[in-house]
């Protein structure tokens, strides 16, 4: 069976050596040792790159370390909660998320023509779309797990409505990147639930056909501009093409072994924009070269494969669907960010998971890992 090889390479927890004992110890507190170690490794590497990408701003690195501290605490806490609780709060979290998204459209705050933040009195300012990133797959998994799999068409239609509502609301902010990611996280649940290939292929065909309609009726000017710039960055080298030209220059000039840590001229001399957030991979690529990039991609791949393995180990269908979606969504973040910075995808503001600076992103990603570990480690009595 193919899954045996798969579990041996990615999992391999059958040995009872030192690592195995720690693993068992971790399992008792509902954590997965390999995944936790990989996350910590990524976090440490991320902080180092951030030190360089932030123009050696130690305060920023400290703040990001605090974000990790909070995020890891939330992850551990989330892992302790049994899957049943998530199942029970799923529709409520979804409802709160959707109401918050409507609130953003009505009274949100933001910058550069987009409203993304909700500032409620007595609460810290937050982006409701971050809440929905978790709440949507949670809810779709909850809904799909209530019915037998593979799902019936009528269930799929209802699931699509559940997915579509927040997607459209985020699109209205407007935030094309996030709405695509949110949609994907829900769609992935349907895929894992066994949605038929015929339907999958026709859905892909439908999306492809509707792309021109999106262009004319949905996309805002700045979004169109991004796509145009993506197709031909040199058309506006000082405006919107600047970012992508500079990031490609940073990556390309890094070569195989890079210019050396803190030695990247593109990053250190401020040619590279957003070098501590969305474009941070270019800092890594410039200073540590292709070798650094391959190491980073290796860590990401190990994390994702481990997550997929853990997903398959979940006891409940709900757990599997949710974990599978969270795992693949994590990869989508990685792929979209690196693809954007290296110029094979248009610029959509997606941070590099656990490396880009930003508290909300770090905490919500680590929360997702906590949920995933909860699904994978809790056993029904």
């Amino acid at each position: 069976m193919a899954s045996t090889d798969f579990s041996r390479t990615i999992g391999g927890h059958h040995h009872q050596h030192g690592f195995g004992r720690s693993q068992a110890l971790f399992a008792r507190v509902h954590l997965d040792l390999p995944l936790t170690l990989l996350i910590l490794l990524l976090a440490c590497g991320g902080l180092l790159i951030l030190y360089s990408g932030s123009a050696q701003d130690l305060n920023m690195v400290k703040r990001q370390a605090i974000h990790f501290g909070i995020g890891l605490s939330v992850m551990v806490f989330a892992a302790q909660l049994p899957p049943r609780i998530y199942q029970n709060i799923a529709p409520w979290a979804y409802a709160v998320g959707v109401i918050a998204l409507i609130g953003v459209l009505v009274m949100g705050v933001g910058a550069k023509g987009a409203q993304r933040w909700l500032a409620l009195p007595g609460l810290p300012r937050f982006q409701p779309s971050e809440l929905v990133k978790l709440a949507l797959p949670l809810t779709v998994a909850w809904y799909m797990a209530r019915h037998p799999v593979p799902p019936r068409f009528s269930h799929l239609v209802k699931a699509i409505i559940i997915i579509g509502l927040p997607t459209v609301l985020i699109l209205r902010q407007p935030d094309l990147g996030t709405s695509i990611l949110i949609f994907a996280s829900g769609a992935l649940v349907l895929f894992f639930a066994g949605m038929s290939w015929a339907l999958i292929l026709s859905a892909i065909g439908l999306v492809a056909a509707s792309a021109p309609l999106m262009w004319f009726f949905v996309m805002r000017d700045y979004q169109k501009q991004r796509v145009l710039t993506f197709l031909n960055p040199e058309s506006d080298p000082l405006g919107s093409g600047w970012n992508i030209i500079q990031s490609k220059t940073a990556i390309g000039s890094g070569g195989i072994d890079g210019k050396g840590f803190l030695q990247g001229t593109q990053s250190q001399l401020e040619f590279l924009p957003e070098s501590h957030t969305d474009f941070i991979i270019a800092v890594l690529a410039e200073e540590l070269g292709l070798i650094g990039v391959l190491i980073l991609l290796a860590i990401y791949s190990l994390i994702i494969m481990r997550c997929l393995y853990l997903s398959s180990q979940c006891e409940t269908l709900f757990g599997r669907l949710l974990s599978g979606s969270l795992s693949v969504t994590f990869f989508i973040y990685v792929f979209v960010n690196i693809g954007m910075v290296s110029g094979i995808l248009p610029v959509v503001g997606v941070p590099l998971p656990l490396v880009s600076y930003g508290g909300t992103s770090v905490v919500s990603l680590l929360t997702a890992f906590g949920v995933l570990m909860s699904m994978a480690t809790h056993r029904q009595r």
Partner: protein
């Protein structure tokens, strides 16, 4: 709530695993795509991006050379470079331009005009990230205001630069010209030639008029370079290597600022021109047109208001009368007509005519009147010069004929621009039979020759031409090409005088007799310039002239006092001194000055006295 059998659960797991494997494969494929992309950028295109990143970081910055200074013959500074502080903006670095400008306006005041100019410069700028000047001439206080608020003003900076300054102001405005910002047309021209494009790569100012334009190539200097490492904001991190610019040559002109400022003082309130030439060298001692203007206004860009005031001034301060004012030479031409007649052998110093107050051509009823209605009576050449007898010269001109007069006068530079380095000088007009046929499609009539005898009719000359002809006359026909340039740096320029043939009279004694006659213009009892006698310090030869104002019909009526003033005759005076060994030749034209003896003459005399007095003292 819902139940699944064990078998269902196993099927579920299988389904999930197969889907997970599919996605794992997709993920691996997409990761491979990322690796392929990174490899392509970092290995295949590494060299290209390495160069791009170096170009980003390393900039070759041209450094403008300091413009050469301009001195007068006494070593007095006529054009210098003074530091000036300008407010510059790099538009790429400014988040909200309107807000930034509004803020700057509240700090130091940005006028509507500054904004207009800024927008214009922004449109026509050469390189991205190039700072654009928003305001010139910041005071110390204004610099402090900007610097204190610099944190709120990204992209805004204060830049020190050297700006041209003309300490003598109005006195030299026309002859020196001025520098101004390189405009779009000039830039296109400079860019057309790679060599000038390189030389001007850092230069912002260029000579627009006068000597500044003529000697642009010498004054400009050689551009320098600085290889610098900059950050994305264009701020220099370090200088890697530098090649200093070579400043332009300093030039010394023949001009004498004592004469130039005296001319300005003497001509106050008048419209006119004064040109003085050093006879031995052709060096232009003074080239002054009144009224003048402040050239400093033009350097950093003249305001619309100032410019309209200059342009709409009825006295035309922007008009350089010395080289572009073309006047009938009038009676100042008589010594030359006289020499022509003598040299052609159609008269001599003894021959007399009887002037009844008018001249008449054969078969023609028209009377050509003398300025003295009653006539001068019996006159010979000398008396005709001294008293400026028109009838005598009508007669001589007709006897000589246009075919003799025109080439003879041409030898003195009439009708041609003979200057070495005076830019934009007009050639005047020396009429001839051919010229009239071409220009007016008409024959040359004897009447045309009559008018030419007293320097009227078609004939036109600029004050510079009159002074040049006088200098050649004073130098016994030996040509010294009129010139401004005296020296480059400390090397005196030895520029040959070209192949202009010197004028050889058949009897050289005619020079001296003519000098004597012109001397009598001042010293003679009936000399037209006898008013100069009381102040005569050096033996001086001169000739007055009164030019009728053309273009206004006699029967038209003008009520306004100002317009009537403009109908008065122009007063002209040419002179040289000392007679026995001429050092300075001069021509003065005072528009509507009426009496040459009263207006133009005294001005010429005080210049001569100043020059010769200064030279001896």
């Amino acid at each position: 709530m819902w139940e699944h059998s064990f078998r269902d659960k196993a099927a579920e797991r299988r389904l999930f695993r197969s889907r997970a494997i599919v996605l794992a494969l997709v993920i691996l494929a997409l990761t491979a795509a990322l690796i392929w992309r990174m490899t392509y950028l970092q290995i295949t295109l590494h060299e290209k991006y390495k160069d791009l990143s170096e170009n980003n970081r390393i900039q070759l910055r041209p450094i403008a050379p300091n413009r050469g200074l301009i001195y007068d013959r006494n070593g007095i500074l006529l054009a210098e470079n003074v530091p000036s502080y300008s407010l510059t903006v790099v538009p790429e670095r400014v988040h909200d331009m309107d807000q930034t400008i509004a803020f700057l306006d509240s700090l130091i005041g940005i006028s509507e005009r500054d904004r207009e100019q800024f927008e214009k410069r922004e449109r026509y700028r050469r390189r991205p990230y190039e700072p654009i000047v928003l305001r010139h001439k910041l005071s110390e206080d204004e610099i402090a205001q900007v610097m204190v608020n610099r944190y709120y003003l990204p992209g805004v900076d204060v830049e020190a630069q050297l700006v041209r300054h003309y300490p003598q102001g109005e006195a030299f405005a026309h002859v020196l010209g001025y520098v101004g910002r390189i405009n779009q047309g000039e830039q296109t021209k400079l860019d057309a030639d790679p060599e000038t494009k390189r030389r001007y790569s850092a230069t912002r100012y260029i000579g627009k008029l006068g000597a500044e334009k003529q000697y642009e190539a010498d004054l400009h200097g050689e551009v320098g370079y600085q290889k610098v490492e900059t950050n994305a904001r264009g701020r220099i991190i370090q200088v890697i290597e530098q090649q200093d610019p070579v400043p332009g040559s300093d030039i010394t002109l023949h001009l004498d600022s004592r004469l130039q400022t005296l001319a300005q003082k003497e001509m106050q309130g008048m419209r006119g021109a004064l040109v003085a030439i050093e006879v031995a060298t052709g060096g232009i001692l003074s080239l002054y047109s009144n009224p003048s203007f402040d050239p400093n206004l033009f350097v950093t860009g003249i305001s619309h208001k100032d410019y309209s005031a200059l342009r709409d001034n009825p006295d035309l301060p922007l008009f350089d009368r010395t080289i572009r004012g073309q006047y009938p030479p009038a009676s100042t031409l008589k010594p030359f007509i006289g020499l022509a007649a003598l040299d052609a052998g159609i008269t001599n110093w003894q021959e007399t005519i009887n002037d009844q107050g008018w001249f008449q051509l054969e078969n023609d009823d028209r009377l050509y009147r003398d300025w003295k209605r009653t006539g001068h009576g019996i006159v010979n050449m000398e008396r005709a010069i001294v008293e400026s007898c028109d009838t005598y010269f009508y007669e001589m001109a007709v006897r000589s004929g246009i075919d003799t007069l025109s080439p003879f006068l041409g030898q003195f530079g009439y009708g041609r621009d003979m200057t070495l380095d005076v830019i934009n000088a007009l050639p005047g007009l020396l009429p001839s039979r051919d010229w009239k046929k071409q220009r007016h499609k008409s024959f040359w009539y004897a009447g045309d020759t009559v008018n030419m005898g007293i320097g009227q009719g078609y004939m036109l000359a600029t004050p510079l031409q009159m002074a040049t002809a006088t200098a050649v006359l004073a130098n016994r026909g030996v040509w010294k090409v009129p010139r401004l340039i005296y020296a480059h740096n400390d090397t005196i320029d030895d520029i040959p005088h070209g192949d202009i043939p010197d004028i050889k009279l058949k009897d050289p004694a005619n020079w001296d007799r003519m000098y004597h006659a012109m001397q009598e213009v001042i010293t003679g009892l009936h000399g037209t310039a006898r008013r100069l006698l009381p102040n005569l310090q050096y033996p001086m030869a001169g000739k007055t002239g009164t030019a009728q104002v053309v273009g206004i019909k006699q029967d038209e009526e003008y009520d306004s006092e100002a317009l009537r003033e403009r109908l008065r005759d122009h007063a002209l005076f040419i002179a040289f001194a000392p007679v026995e060994k001429p050092e300075i030749a001069i021509a003065v034209v005072i528009e509507n000055g009426e009496s040459a003896g009263r207006t133009a003459g005294p001005i010429a005399q005080s210049i001569i006295n100043e020059y010769l007095g200064g030279a001896e003292g």
